[in-house]
Symmetry: C2
Subunit: 180 residues, 2 copies
DNA sequence: TGTTAGATAGACAGGTCTGTCTATCTCTTT
DNA sequence: AAAGAGATAGACAGACCTGTCTATCTAACA
């Protein structure tokens, strides 16, 4: 699976690694497979990244940046801000296969990597902050929204019946507005 | 870490493997480590299990059986049955370290194993059925409870602040009874 | 045109992993 | 006492993995 060469070697490595890490798992994806699919020499790869772990961390950083940027650009429609992350999940689901939360998955495979742990923490900080500001600083409600958001991810992965996100949004409404 | 020898070799293997798989991950736990910790010879191990995958599947089967049995024994206090799985999670949390849902974790590391997929599906069937019967067959409410239950697991793992399960139960109350 | 940065292919070292096999030992049962 | 089931230790094969290294090529720029 050679990759379009309009992208730089570094970009090809990251794009390929991201797909493989997410779909098949980090430990099931060898360096040799990444460079073969990306069409890049091993020496170039180790010129851009000092280790496989650095590729993993960069992979997570990239996702986090995409997520943060999307949140920042989201329409600030008053009173339903808290819908935005769920809507984003819906878009992700529509765009292709879904294998759960990449951050959670990475933590399962590399539980001892402090860089990975840090990246996961930063990601969750971002979401929690967003939810908190969307309910005017009510920390309990924000924490509850987070539980539902987490549930949406795990449920989509393990029970892909199609209605997960809608159900999650209904629950979010219950939490925030107290209506069904 | 030699293991008490009152248990049979097979039991020692399963107990050791369960701990290591759950805490450190399946791919990060080699056969050699399992037999060393269990105090069992490699030949004995391969006499009881044809492969590492079979150990993994048995590990999941054991958890599922424990869970199913506990649900069956749970007090059938009318109208709050749906609390039971959450209470069980609370007990699990109190009993030691928590590394997320073992079924979800196994699926991350072995996404191609059909035996693992089967075991996960059976586990989730059990929970969903339980929730469904606890809300008198209301499939939508059952699905929503499942989302919250999933969320509790992921949230406990990634945001271990202590209040996750209480928040999840409050949300469950909202879903079932419509009150806060 | 010559230099240099960055790319390529691929051999290689050193380690780890799963699963097999041999050869011995220790109980239990007859 | 004899026999057999099941345990032990540990060497080994073959695959795979990460990371290093050499040696060559190409393209941009001075």
């Amino acid at each position: 699976m050679e990759m379009s060469s309009r992208l730089s070697p570094r970009e090809r490595i990251l794009k390929t690694a991201a797909e493989l890490f997410y779909k098949r798992g980090i430990n099931n994806t060898g360096i040799d497979r990444i460079i073969a699919d990306a069409g890049v020499a091993k020496a170039s790869m180790y010129n851009h990244f000092v280790s496989k772990e650095e590729i993993v961390v960069t992979y997570l950083k990239t996702i986090r940046k995409g997520f943060t940027d999307a949140l920042a650009k989201a329409p600030a429609k008053k009173g339903s801000n808290f819908h935005v992350p769920f809507q984003m999940l819906k878009v992700t689901l529509a765009n292709g296969e879904f294998y759960g939360c990449p951050f959670s998955n990475a933590l399962v495979e590399m539980p001892d990597s402090s860089s990975v742990k840090q990246e996961v923490a930063a990601y969750r900080e971002t979401i929690l902050h967003y939810f908190e500001s969307s309910v005017n600083g009510d920390k309990t409600k924000a924490a509850m929204l987070m539980v539902v958001y987490d549930g949406a991810f795990l449920n989509c992965k393990l029970s892909p019946n199609g209605n997960t996100v809608n159900n999650a949004m209904k629950i979010a409404d219950l939490i925030v507005k107290g209506r069904k």
